[in-house]
Each structure stands twice: as C-alpha cells, then as structure tokens.
C-alpha cells in the first residue's frame, strides 16, 4: 500500500480549515498533518513536516501567502502548493504562477474540486480552471498568465515608485530629496513623471492610490 499524501492546510477561517481537514482525512489516500491559520505557521509546518501538498488560502491576515510560498519553493521544493481563494483575480493568479503554484482553487467551486486538485497535483499535473489554463503562456522563465492586466504601477521606474511611496507617507519634497540623495528638482521631475503616468494630479489622490495599490500602509 502506497503512503498516503501528506497535506498541510493553511486558512485563517477555523470553520473552513476544520471542514477541509475532516473532508481530506476522510479520503483513504490523504492525511492532514497540520492545519494552521496563517502563512508564517504554514511555512513552519512545511519546513517541519515536508508535506506533499500545501493547501494555502491567499487572503490571510499577517504575512503574505505568496512570500511564504516563495520561501517554501526554495527551501522545500518537493512540497507542491495549491492556492485557495475566495474568487478569481488575475493578480492572484499571476502571482501564484510566479511562485510556481501547482493549483488554484476558488472556494466557490464544489468541495470535490479540492480533492480532485490534490490528486491531480500529486500525480504530477497542474490544477487550474479551464479558463485560466487557456490563458497560461509558457516562456523561458516558466509559466505566466497571458497578457496580464498591466497595472499602471508597473509603468513606473524604480525611482518614481520610491517617490510615490514617500508621497504616501506625507514627506515634503525637500525631505524626499535628502532621503534619496537627489536634488529637489529631480524629485519634482519624478513627481511630474509619475503623475503623468498614473494620470493623477493631486498628491492626496496619489497617496490614496499608493495605499490602494499596497505600496504604502494606510
């Protein structure tokens, strides 16, 4: 008899976690080694247990799930990650592919989808919905999502991004210039450029945009 698949579940909702654990434990070829509530605990559990599959929710409080996934991929490459999410979101899928997740299951799919996904992934196949699968592109760097929606943020240069972050923190131009070791005129130029690129011409709106894009804390 083959060894059952060792699975770690990470979901901040105790009921979802409990239900998944009960459901997966009921499968003869699966065993849930740990059910944790955040990405940090998931990382610890994976490093300790070296499971076959990590079933991880994307929207969890605390550390970023994708950051944890990246670390797991480096330090525990045998563990295959399947992401769980409340809904389809291109940015999530792009990031999931970037960290080489093997699957992406939404919570609105039937419960059996999770079991099917785990079995497929364990068998060396990826599990993405047919809609996502049709949009995956293979290139030299790996798999990505076809022509992902380009956020306007991606059009900003490194320096412009930095200025945007400082604007969101409410820093004055002179203060930015001192911090970045550049002249106030250069700060002005970066500000003008990023305003043009983002088509936002108000510092308050810029700050709000930065917070919304996750570039600064609210």
């Amino acid at each position: 008899m083959t060894r059952p698949l060792v699975i770690v579940i990470a979901d901040d909702h105790a009921m979802v976690r409990g239900m998944l654990k009960r459901r997966l434990d009921a499968e003869p070829d699966m065993t849930v080694a740990a059910a944790v509530s955040n990405a940090d605990e998931a990382l610890t559990a994976v490093l300790r247990l070296n499971p076959d599959i990590l079933l991880m929710d994307i929207e969890m409080p605390g550390s970023d799930s994708f950051g944890a996934a990246r670390t797991i991929r480096e330090r525990c490459p045998d563990t295959r990650i399947i992401f769980l999410s409340a809904f389809f979101h291109d940015r999530y899928i792009e990031q999931a592919l970037a960290v080489q997740a093997w699957g992406y299951v939404t919570k609105s799919e039937p419960e059996d989808s999770v079991i099917r996904a785990i079995r497929k992934v364990a068998a060396g196949l990826a599990y993405f919905s047919p809609q996502i699968q049709a949009r995956i592109v293979v290139d030299s760097a790996g798999a990505t999502l076809a022509h992902p929606q380009r956020s306007r943020v991606s059009t900003l240069t490194h320096r412009e991004l930095e200025v945007l972050r400082y604007i969101a923190r409410g820093m004055a131009k002179k203060e930015m210039a001192r911090t970045m070791h550049i002249s106030a005129n250069t700060v002005n130029r970066h500000t003008t450029n990023l305003m043009t690129k983002l088509d936002i011409h108000d510092r308050v709106e810029l700050a709000r945009y930065a917070i919304r894009e996750g570039l600064a804390d609210a």
Partner: protein
C-alpha cells in the same frame, strides 16, 4: 447844568438799549429783563430831569451834585452792560453748543446701541438668522429720534419681519441688503407722522448712514450664515460619504467572511448529500440548501466584485454583459413594487473600451436613483442599443472609435425633476434625498465615469412624468484582443492519443501535461532526455507524438530525437525551444518547432495539427 443832564440821559438810554439787545439775544433772560427795565426807568427819569432843567421849573430846582452822580451811574451802567453782556452771551452760547453736541451724542449712542444690539444678537448661542432679523427689527426704532413714531421692516427673499405698525408708515427710508454681491432683501424704516422736511429730505444724513450700516451688517451676517450653513451641509455630506465608503469596505469584508462560511455550509451539505439515499426527503431538503447556498455565493461574489477597490483598468468589454450583470444584482435590491425591464436591442456585441466595474456602478447608481424616484413603485426600464449617427457627432473628435456608439438609457416612471434640479444633478453633494438617504455623490460619480470613458450623459425629465438618463459611449471596432479576452476554454480534441512529454521544469511540465490531459490526450511525462528515451522504450508501440524541450538535461532534445528517429521514423514530434537561432529547416520532416513563448491554445493547435498530419499515414511505431 443842562449839558450834564443831557449827557446822562443819552448815556442812560444807550445803556437801556444795549440791555434790551442783550435781553433779546439771551431769549428774554429774567436777569436781563430786570436790568433793561431798570435802565429804561432810569432813562425816563433822566428825561424828566432834563425836561425840568430845560423848562426852568422852579418847583424842582436842579441839584447839581445829584446830576453828576446820575451821570456817573448812567456811565457805569453803560460800561457794565457793554462788558458783562458779551460775557454772559458767550456763556449762553457755550451752553447751547453743549446741548447740541449732547443731543448729537445721544443720537450716536442710540445708533451704536442698535448696532451693538445686533452684534449681541449674533453672539447669542442659539442665534438663528430668523432670530437675528426679528431682534434687529425690534432694535431699529430705538435708534431713531422718536421711537414711538418709528417702525421698521426687514425683507429677505420671501420672508418679511416688521414691527406691527409698519403698514401705517407715512414716510419710509429703505436700503438694500447685499450678500455675495447680490441684493437679497431690504431694510426699511418708517415714520408714522410727517416729519419736518429739511434740505436733506424727511430723513437726515445720519439716519441714512445708520440704515446703510444696518443693511451692510445684515448682509455680512447673512453671508456668514449662508457660509456656515453650506459648511455644515458639506461636512454632513462628507461625513455621509465617508460612512458610505466605510460601509462599502465593511460590505467587502463581510462578503469575504460570508464566502468562507458558505464554503463550509456547502462542503458539509455536499458531504451529507452523498451519505443519504437519493430519494429520501432529507436528500431533497439538502438539495434546497445547496441551491440556496449557490445563490448566496453568487450574491456574495457580486458584492465582492462591486466593492473591490481596484484601480481603473479599461479593456474591451461587451456592454451587454455589463447590463446583464447589473440586472442580476438589481433584482436583489429592487422592492417588489418596482418592476425591472431590460431591453438589449442588439444581437451583436457592443464593444467598448471600459472598466467593467465602473460601468456596472454607473448602471446600478442610475437604477437605484430610479428606484428612489418611485417610492410607490413603478417600472425601471434599462435599454441598450447601438446609437444613431447624430450621437456620434456630439462626441469628442479625438476619440479612437469606430464611428459607432452605444446608447444606454435608464428610465423611470417616478416623480420627475424640475428644470432647476435637472441643471444641478451632476454637481457633487447635490441631493434631493433626505438626510442620510444619499450622499449627493452618485450622479457626480456617474458623470465622471462617463466622461472618463469618452461618453456623455443626458437627462430628460418632467415633473410627474418620470426621468430618463441617457448615456452615449463610443464603441470600438473589434472585439476583445486575445490579451484582454474573457477567459475561454480550449475545446477538447484528443481521443486518448499518447503523448511523450519531456520538460525539465516540473512546474511547466505539469501545466502542459494537465492541459493535454484536459484536451483528451494521454500523457507520459519525462523530466530529462534519458527519461524520455526510457519512456519511449516503454511506450514505443502506442506513442503518437513526442513533445519535448530542446534543452533537456542528460541528453538534449535533438540528441534524443535522433535516437528515436532510428526506430520511430514517422512519429510526429514537437520540439519546444526559446532559442531564436534554431533553424526549423534543420529539423526532419516530421518534427515541428514550437517556439517559446506559447500559449496553451497554440500548444493545443500545434499538437492537433501534428497528429492530423500524421493520421493519413496511420500509426507508425
């Protein structure tokens, strides 16, 4: 002797006349009356003595010493009157001046009391404009010389505040109240009796200045009140807007938690369903729960989509989808008495370059406004159609459109709007709804979104007839490009053909393998060249296609292919490579180069094409 008496008489008369003059100037002052009387009596006496002296009356012989004394007294009297008279007069004039000044001061005090009283009215903690105006009207009469005969009235737009007897006024002084450069009313002061007409008219310059000062002060009070009222309204609306934003965020959070709870409910229901016999009543009950859960999940998904705060991302979308999605959400927010009719008058897609969430928000906002305009219920009609050519002409020339436009209308049979309301509905914070019912931001957001999408919005409304809002948006030529297309699936076309897949990147291999399996093919995976050759050994009789990366570890793809070709001459192969220098002509006839990057639809097509090309020859081991 006669000379002395004559001189004394003349001097005495002079003293008497001077005393009379002083008496007249002093306004018959009793002291001077007495002095003048004494002086005249003495002058008469002197005249009698002079007469006797001239007629040589023997009965009254002249008294030379007495006449000299009389002359001295007359001279003294004249000098005394001449010296004391002006002094006395100057005192009297000073008194008069003082009295006049005192009167003027009293008037100024009364005026200032009036203005001070107004200032006090403003400072009152419960001072409303109405109280200030009423208080001012009560203060005005006291600032005039005859308060009992003075009445006042302040008119402000349609309101009028006056003393009770104002209508009986015989003479009236008025001054406009000006606020923010516009006359908003007037202050009027009336007199119940005719006043003495002077050069200045019945009212003095001071009175005109006072009424002007009152009107000016009232103008400033009204301006300040208006500003304060506007600020209070704006603060209220801003607060409401913040509250709504918070509610939106809360809704998103709740929707997320609901989604998780629904996952649990559905999970357990699914599990319970499998444990029960299909025909049992409990099984049916569970199916109903499943159905309800499904609907709840759909609703939650809509809420999540709607309340997501994502930056604007325009892409080609079919307007029909926007309307259909909105219809789905609207059915849940409309009361039973409100009927929703949706008419999509076009079979072909109406492509616009737009942010779907924003356009959905536009439709929902308009429909919710329509709902609110029909408190007793009615019909909301949403119509979508290609627009006429005239609609195109009105759009900005710079738009990169196909010359076609789409027309979206939301009509209601509600209370309608007056022209004045219509002219203001797109102003931020303008609302006709009661406090707490609306932020006044909805239509301004709609206007902003429509403008941002290069379109325009029109309103047609009549009171009691309902309102129709029409949005015209520029269409784009083509449908979505592949980069923005809505996710579609790849149609399965395999029939269980075996494909040997060799790719060293396990993640990529898994994705390709799962795609091929979902297309109906059977896949055997190999992680390097040697594994590919091993797999070929095992499946040489059944393999229909080789799909491998050119750059495989252990043995390269071309090396493997050379070895494979020694036995499987005609089996088609797809070599994956990102190397642009690789010349496809160097490959054998049965091998096709699949260049990276490639999408899964391209892969599916390449595989299907390769297998189809091989089919006429039949299976070749």
């Amino acid at each position: 002797m006669n000379v002395v008496v004559g001189l004394a008489t003349v001097v005495q008369y002079a003293a008497a006349i001077l005393a009379l003059r002083v008496l007249r100037i002093t306004g018959r002052d009793p002291t001077w009356l007495l002095i003048a009387a004494v002086a005249f009596l003495m002058a008469i006496r002197r005249s009698i003595v002079l007469y006797r002296s001239l007629s040589h009356d023997a009965a009254h012989p002249p008294d030379m010493a007495g006449e000299w004394v009389g002359l001295a007294i007359s001279v003294l009297m004249l000098v005394g009157v001449a010296r004391i008279g002006p002094f006395f007069l100057s005192i009297l004039r000073s008194k008069e001046e003082l009295r006049k000044r005192s009167d003027a001061l009293a008037k100024r005090v009364k005026e200032l009391n009036c203005l001070y009283g107004m200032a006090n009215l403003v400072e009152q903690p419960d001072s409303s404009l109405k109280r200030i105006l009423q208080g001012t009207v009560a203060l005005i009469p006291d600032a005039w010389p005859r308060p009992e005969l003075t009445c006042a009235r302040i008119k402000l737009k349609e309101q009028s505040y006056g003393t009770t007897n104002f209508e009986e006024t015989r003479q009236c002084l008025a001054c406009d109240i000006v606020a923010r450069g516009e006359p908003v009313g007037a202050v009027e002061v009336g007199h119940l009796a005719d006043r003495l007409e002077t050069d200045e008219g019945p009212f003095t310059e001071e009175e005109r200045k006072l009424i002007k000062a009152i009107a000016g002060r009232l103008g400033r009070i009204i301006e300040r009140t208006q500003v304060e009222e506007e600020r209070a309204i704006l603060q209220d609306q801003l607060h409401q807007a913040h509250k709504m934003e918070a509610v939106g965020q809360l809704a998103a959070g709740v929707a997320h938690d609901f989604s998780n709870l629904l996952t649990v409910i559905r999970g357990h229901t699914d599990r319970a369903t499998t444990l029960l016999a299909d025909e049992s009543q409990a099984h049916k009950e569970l199916q109903w729960i499943q159905e309800a859960t499904h609907q709840a999940a759909e609703l939650t998904r809509g809420l999540l989509t709607f309340s997501r705060k994502l930056p604007t991302e325009k892409k080609p979308i079919d307007l029909r989808t926007v309307v259909r999605e909105s219809e789905r959400l609207l059915h849940r927010v409309l009361p039973a008495a409100t009927e929703l009719e949706v008419d999509i008058a076009c079979e072909a897609p109406l492509w616009v370059n737009a942010d779907q969430t924003q356009l959905q928000q536009v439709v929902l906002n308009l429909a919710v406004n329509a709902r609110d305009a029909m408190p007793e219920g009615g019909t909301i009609r949403i119509t979508l159609s290609p627009a006429s050519e005239t609609d195109v002409d009105d759009l900005p020339d710079t738009l990169d459109t196909a010359g076609r436009t789409a027309r979206l209308t939301v009509a209601d049979s509600g209370v309608g709007m007056t022209p004045e309301v219509q002219s203001r509905i797109f102003e931020p914070f303008y609302t006709t709804k009661t406090r707490g019912q609306g932020t006044g931001l909805g239509l301004s957001i709609v206007h902003g979104v429509v403008k941002d999408h290069g379109g325009r919005i029109e309103v047609q409304s009549e009171v009691g007839e309902g309102t129709t809002l029409t949005i015209v948006l520029p269409c784009i030529e083509a449908g979505p490009t592949p980069e923005t297309a809505e996710p579609s699936t790849i149609v399965p076309q395999g029939a269980g053909e075996l494909i040997l897949l060799a790719e060293d990147d396990s993640h990529v291999r898994a994705i390709i393998a799962s795609t091929l399996e979902s297309l109906g093919y059977e896949v055997v995976q190999a992680e390097d060249g040697l594994a590919l050759l091993d797999a070929f050994e095992q499946h040489r009789d059944t393999v229909r296609l080789f799909l491998f990366d050119a750059d495989l570890p252990e043995r390269s793809g071309p090396d493997c292919l050379r070895q494979i070709r020694q036995e499987a001459v005609g089996t088609p192969a797809l070599m994956i490579s990102g190397d642009v220098s690789l010349d496809p002509n160097e490959l054998d006839d049965q091998t096709v180069l699949l260049r990276k990057p490639f999408g899964m639809p391209e892969l599916a097509e390449a595989v299907a094409h390769a297998l189809a090309a091989d089919r006429p020859r039949g299976k070749q081991p």
